[in-house]
Amino acid sequence: MAAEATMTQETSSSTMWNGGRSPFNVSWGKMMMWFFLVSDAFTFSSLIIAYGTMRHRFAEIWPKANDVFTHFPFFEGHMPLAYVGLMTFILIMSSVTMVLAVDAGHRRDNKGVAVWLFLTIIGGFMFLGSQAWEWYHFIHGTETGAYLTSDGQVYKDAGNAYHLHHLNPPAGALVSPDHKIISDKATIDAIKGSSEHIHGANLTHNEYGHPLFADFFFFITGFHGFHVFSGVIINIIIWLNVLSGVYARRGHYEHIEKTGLYWHFVDLVWVFVFTFFYLV
């Protein structure tokens, strides 16, 4: 037994790197998908690190995601993290259906691959819909909005009881960029008179605080959402191939594995976005 193991090792070390085969024991397509994902991970890392850098720079006035994303469909009130938690669950679930599709492929079960891949596509669409809803609420903003002064400071209206939950400011008061309550009538009128009344967020202003928060939110979740969208399109193409029996005829389902790698990567990126945008 030990002799056999030694022999195996000798065989592999002397012949694996001599050409004519993959020394990594992995196919060309799968290896290139991995290398693409490494480069893509570098892009996402750079974006999230840039977010972190600006967050450290503007630490005092940076908005808390828990004060921004507090809505849940069909329910009233202050529910931070609930919706994004649900989105995370949807994406993890679609990762599971994807890996079950790959698993069915290993068993050469064409029908199983079709069913699991279909469920993965549904999960992808659910996630994209959730993200559209999140964007809509962020862009639309609150009813009371905030006041943007000419030097770029954002004074929030205390009417947003849920979005300024932890401060509990009195009605009619304003909240300064560094989270201090302003209840003096003359100061409030001076700020309101010399500033622009804004609602929601876009690339130039953000009622929840620093505009860079909105820029990074749109860019990072948008870039991730575009990856999810591409993944759904690729999954649909692969699914149609499965339905027409392309892989059954080919004799193996390696294509599902390569698509699966991409899909899991999208889930992996979301795990990091969830932590650094919503939790930390």
């Binding site: 012949t15 993959s22 720079r57 993890i92 004799g251 899991h264 932590t275």
Partner: protein, 122 residues
């Protein structure tokens, strides 16, 4: 025969684009998938649950980052199957991220410096 020894998980088809194919189906695969799912789900629920607990912010941040790396490990190792690739291939994929750790250190230090600069001179 020796070929089979050095390629324990499958065989080559001879097609240059799809050279390697899994041969032996391991019935334990399914339980590994569901175990990974429950771990990921449990960690996510735990993260949301402790987000509003009265715990010092610094401790929470460290906890979240550690749990995120744990989740990433389970996704990469079991969903993306990297644990079952050759170890040399796994290192080829993982080691470049040392550069990212280096970039995190530099960029966050820069952000904190700019914060201090703004406070001192504006």
């Amino acid at each position: 025969m020796s070929d089979q020894h050095s390629q324990p998980h499958g065989y080559y088809t001879g097609d240059i684009h799809n050279q390697f194919v899994e041969e032996h189906y391991d019935p334990k695969n399914k339980s590994v998938i569901w175990r990974t799912f429950w771990i990921l789900l449990f960690i996510t629920i735990f993260e949301v649950a402790i987000a509003f607990a009265p715990i010092a912010h610094g401790i929470l941040v460290v906890t979240f980052i550690v749990l995120t790396i744990v989740k990433a490990y389970f996704i990469v190792a079991f969903f993306m199957h990297l644990k079952h690739e050759k170890i040399s291939f796994a290192y080829t994929i993982i080691l470049p991220f040392i550069l990212i750790v280096y970039l995190i250190g530099m960029a966050l230090a820069e952000g904190s410096f700019l914060n201090l600069w703004d406070r001192l001179f504006q």
